[in-house]
Subunit: 407 residues, 2 copies
Amino acid sequence: MALIVQKYGGTSVGSVARIKAVAEQVAALRAQGHGVAVVVSAMGDSTDRLVDLAREISPTPAPREYDALLATGEMVSIALVAMALEARGCPARSYNGLQLPVTTTDVHGKARIKSIDATRLQADIAAGVVPVLAGFQGRSPAGDVTTIGRGGSDTTAVALAVALHADECQILTDVDGVYTTDPRMVPSARRLDRVSFEEMLELAGQGSRVLHLRSVEFAAKYGVNLRVLSSFKPGPGTLIAKEDPNVEAPVVAGIAFNRDEAEINVTDVPDEPGVAWRILQPISAASIEIDMIVVNAPREGRVDFSFTVHRDDYARALELARAAGAQFAGAGVAGNQTVAKLAIVGSGMRTQAGVATRLFETLAREQINVRLVSTSEIKISVLVAERDLERGVRALHEAYGLSRAPA
Amino acid sequence: MALIVQKYGGTSVGSVARIKAVAEQVAALRAQGHGVAVVVSAMGDSTDRLVDLAREISPTPAPREYDALLATGEMVSIALVAMALEARGCPARSYNGLQLPVTTTDVHGKARIKSIDATRLQADIAAGVVPVLAGFQGRSPAGDVTTIGRGGSDTTAVALAVALHADECQILTDVDGVYTTDPRMVPSARRLDRVSFEEMLELAGQGSRVLHLRSVEFAAKYGVNLRVLSSFKPGPGTLIAKEDPNVEAPVVAGIAFNRDEAEINVTDVPDEPGVAWRILQPISAASIEIDMIVVNAPREGRVDFSFTVHRDDYARALELARAAGAQFAGAGVAGNQTVAKLAIVGSGMRTQAGVATRLFETLAREQINVRLVSTSEIKISVLVAERDLERGVRALHEAYGLSRAPA
């Protein structure tokens, strides 16, 4: 008998019919002899409706009250899921964030979970009762309602798995697992049976939005086995876990991409200490996040400087870069919004040579110009023209043999 | 500076516009230098929508989860009201039933408030902050969400006034006070400036549904001054308080009526000990509430026995009465659904003679047959044919001079 935490997202509990289907799945798992605890999100678009109500009251609603308002969405769904379980003879009890409590920091809208008091839940599970916990919310040390940011129910589920020492934390969603790349772009994309936390973080951070990033970090930190599953059709999903030392890691596990990038180039600046700081500091000071940063090797005492920002921040960042560039006689500032980033991700890169070579060979054969490159231990990211993105992802998916199941 | 608890019902917070209007009223009261705490109900028909959701899940939803679900309605409105107050520069904080907590018994759906921990609220008020408390809900000793029954927000407001030692508990609603009788029936009906708790209980219990009965009992028990006011138009409303010993109580304060009655007559039964019990016991055992009970004086060792029940219970009660009547040879059982009850209520009846005489004189003049009579210290109730009700109420309203303001 295993102890399993299951998290159902908003789509999975989006209607009465869906809630009944969730109850059926949970009851079936419990009938197999497993201990089950459930975390649920708010029904479908109910959070959006609450957000609209708040905006009608005030364009800048008081953060404490905004949290108290949004948290009601999950409170509705936990009661309905517990009701549906009880209605089919499976004992259940709902708990909102104030009740156990789920203790968080007191930063409204972006609180972090500090601990979950699992005493009542353990007693419930021991007695065959399924606890149904509200995701996304908690209680500040002062006793106020807090929320941990949108998508945060995944994090609640992982925190609950930690508190219960669960064997597995299953994230039930509208996709049936983590794929080698987005199947809408590459029809031969394949569901991965298993990825490591590090791979998942790189895949998620690069745009494969299956799981909330923070929940993966949290799971990695505490070594919680995560599994992404579809709540609509049966299947094994994808296990996200520590790297298995007995299994050779795939060289490339998947390909991530991101169309939200914009590139800024500050060219022909003096190669002196502090130059990078003088260019980037005003951008960071404006709370604009900088993603890739590349500086070429100096030539005659001058360097070129390139970086990327989110496309929404492009205009403001370009303006700030122009002001910074004006400090350096002869420097030029240019930008480009029609770029995209793609990245190959795989734990096997740590030990395998030739991975980068194949990347550049493949892109060259496709006549795709690589504008910027950045690398980490298990990832190589390249910036390309947006029109080349889809062709590049497909070619790389083929080149690394991702359409075929591993031997 | 007074400390005032204000309670706004569902109609008063039924829309964003209404919530903003409530915030304006509360802020105005606070700007006058008063300490203010607010209790709110769920927005308009939001509780009905939650009830519908629950019924879709199960015709008999688990009581614990049903309470957890319904309580979210008030949690939405307190956050919005507090937001609206903050938006207009009036510091405010919402509190749901779990937070203070509002401790109740653990009878789901019908819990009773045991205490309200007002520590945080007192600190808020001292700091110029308006606490906004969710009505209708609380926390059981085990930490579960409870509700205190529909209409229970009035009771929450009174309990809060007790906990805060407030000077007045104002119930803001869609009527501007307690009237001598229903103005829809008698256009000359007059708003009362003041009624005693006892009078209010008799008026409310007889059908003047302005306030939840339990809240009046609660206020009477703790001597809380209640005031019924309109949240839509300004005015002094009606103060419901202890009888003022310095003011002569009106002989008749108001006229209540009730169309939900049905009459059952068990005639010609032996005048023996235990007969009443044998007739009424099966009816009580079926959880049917009996209202008026009248037994006439025995004649030749036989008596007639009449009582009234709610019209919804009529068919079942008649059946039970027939079964009970069959025990007594020669007894007859009959019933009548087209009856109504009217009652004159007034603390002055205690000391004034001739009140009943005028009642019967007036009804006789109107050719209205009195079927049953029952009396209490401050009330005389009569059962009449339903077709005579309206004429009777109007004639009595005139006969006791209720259209004219007291001298």
